[in-house]
Symmetry: C4
Subunit: 220 residues, 4 copies
Amino acid sequence: MLDAIAEVREELHALHRSLVDNALVSWTSGNVSARVAPDLMLIKPSGVPYDELRPEDLVLCDLSGAAVAGTLRPSSDAASHGYVYRALPEVHGVVHTHSAYATAWAAHGEPIPCVLTAMADEFGGEIPVGPLAPIGGDAIGRGIVETLHGHRSPAVLMRNHGVFAIGDSPRAAVKAAVMCEDVARTVHLARQLGESVALAPQTVDALHARYRNDYGQEEA
Amino acid sequence: MLDAIAEVREELHALHRSLVDNALVSWTSGNVSARVAPDLMLIKPSGVPYDELRPEDLVLCDLSGAAVAGTLRPSSDAASHGYVYRALPEVHGVVHTHSAYATAWAAHGEPIPCVLTAMADEFGGEIPVGPLAPIGGDAIGRGIVETLHGHRSPAVLMRNHGVFAIGDSPRAAVKAAVMCEDVARTVHLARQLGESVALAPQTVDALHARYRNDYGQEEA
Amino acid sequence: MLDAIAEVREELHALHRSLVDNALVSWTSGNVSARVAPDLMLIKPSGVPYDELRPEDLVLCDLSGAAVAGTLRPSSDAASHGYVYRALPEVHGVVHTHSAYATAWAAHGEPIPCVLTAMADEFGGEIPVGPLAPIGGDAIGRGIVETLHGHRSPAVLMRNHGVFAIGDSPRAAVKAAVMCEDVARTVHLARQLGESVALAPQTVDALHARYRNDYGQEEA
Amino acid sequence: MLDAIAEVREELHALHRSLVDNALVSWTSGNVSARVAPDLMLIKPSGVPYDELRPEDLVLCDLSGAAVAGTLRPSSDAASHGYVYRALPEVHGVVHTHSAYATAWAAHGEPIPCVLTAMADEFGGEIPVGPLAPIGGDAIGRGIVETLHGHRSPAVLMRNHGVFAIGDSPRAAVKAAVMCEDVARTVHLARQLGESVALAPQTVDALHARYRNDYGQEEA
């Protein structure tokens, strides 16, 4: 298992880099985690700038968010990530960002309406808004899980706070965070032009099903 | 012909890179194709990230959008590109993006009005809006061709979806996609200041004719 | 003189690069010129992409805008640049861009109001709007010169078109173009929040005088 | 002490680079200073472009803003920085920028309301607006100090001008400037969607206390 964890350290390190490359984060404000065992995760250390972060700095934690190895303190969002892994066994990656357009929707407290085929593809409908909850305990994790229940979206806008995105791999979670900001921006720009007609539910369903089944390459 | 196709693979690979460099795409969301024979095209494989894309990965397809060589699945937009090549023999390049400002106009469903001399130059008038159509079949291709008919614009905003741009070469199509986003952004910004006066039709005609005839270098 | 011109070619080449680096241009849409003799200028060739432009490609022209050496066709804005040099002997650099925020003000046809100390510094007041004029002849040049007369601004917004900026060197003209887009953006963003109070004329005068006299390093 | 100052020169040089990398400045428009002794500071020379700035160019000044060594003229904001160091002994770094979104709020003259958990964390409430004051004397420095008094924010929006940010190190001041622009942008984008509910004072207090105490790594 140690070799496998070393590999995930490299991948998570690269994914933190891609948060920067996709302009989702400022200074030290976002983080990615990966489930590396049923009850263990790796997550960014708290307050470490992206350009100083090394693979070995990622903190191995249990799913309460407590470090189980090393000397670095984990992200203050560790308990929230851990709650998601506890509640949703199929999730293997969680991302948190304050990306600007998505966080603007979160501050305003309005779900991003599904007015784009790319949203139907990736999110299967609107991107919902979860509650404002204190940082550091279970409340954010519970808010994420309860809000995503009943939606197909892998991303949620936590009110007055930012984005959490999940996936069956850390890379899938990062993709969801990138696409969340992309559609948050496009729909924000569309809103400034006036109203947009939302896609009909059956159109959303058809697009989402096609995307899930026919997009990308067959698994090897 | 194989050598010629190898050269186009290199060019298409570089043009996909320029979609990224011009900030027209997120993750895997855009694609470029090139006609390489009267009834054959090369197009991006489905779901492959730009930084992993290699020239040899581009998929050779017939104009129904079906792969005729290799093991990678073509872009889910292949049938739409193919329809355009079938209907418009002079077209040798097609580009599809979800670039943010242009897609915002598409979501709102409003043509971009011709209020800039650069739009008159490049588009010869407004950039029109085409129908919302299901992804994967002929409907998008037909919508593109029917909407562009009667316009001088090489770009069309497909409603709730994104941009398709065409050209007599893949590079010309990419240029049209880049300029479409550029003017979509500028006119969006102008709209936020209040109304702009559209150029008079004879002004548009004069600018477009000059641009077609006197701009750039003589062909060797 | 040939050596001096070779040096200006290198400088102009670098300045075209800085238009790209400062995000003022898309594709081939902007240009910089330099006066290299009382009645000669160097200017970008028409339609050449920035990443293919070489110092030796810059076209030596008389002030009617006609090439006097080489085989490349000069920018279609050459006559406009030339008019400015003819009318304003102290000008040694001219820049033209379609930078997005400034061009949005130009499309809307409203001068950028002087609500920032940085505008008072650099522009000594508002950035004025000039007429819509056909591309290729004297009309744009005349519009630039007539509009700047009576303003301290080295930049002008040509209606429905874009920015022209002038300076006593090509570098100073590029600086004016960069600062024009910078303040066009900031004032646009401020406008979306509501009204801003314009600086009082005596405040503008004091800031402008200080900036002209006390800013930067003493000339060697 | 000379060795220590040489180290700070390197750090300040890198921090000026980070103003560019974080898109906070155009041309020569921002500056960072560091207190290097109770009554001495290092600051950017006036009007030097960032890509030409060398560590040895940073100007050693007393806290009136007058150079005490070297031949370069200090930033025209040196007296303002010096005033802050004189009034606030715990401050060891000061940053000034015209970053676009924050300066838009400054032009409009409205504090940035605390509608984001990240604002509560970093700023402990709203980011306040200080007076319009002439550049070059004590007035700006006095405006900064008086406005920050009674706020927990390390950043202030100087009306019609731009941002000043302070910190117990130059790096902390740069962080405050980066986060100021980040939240200025997000709250601006939120405003365009409609109103946002401000965080309750006790929520702000709890977030701020947690961030001050539990965020980042323990000091070694």
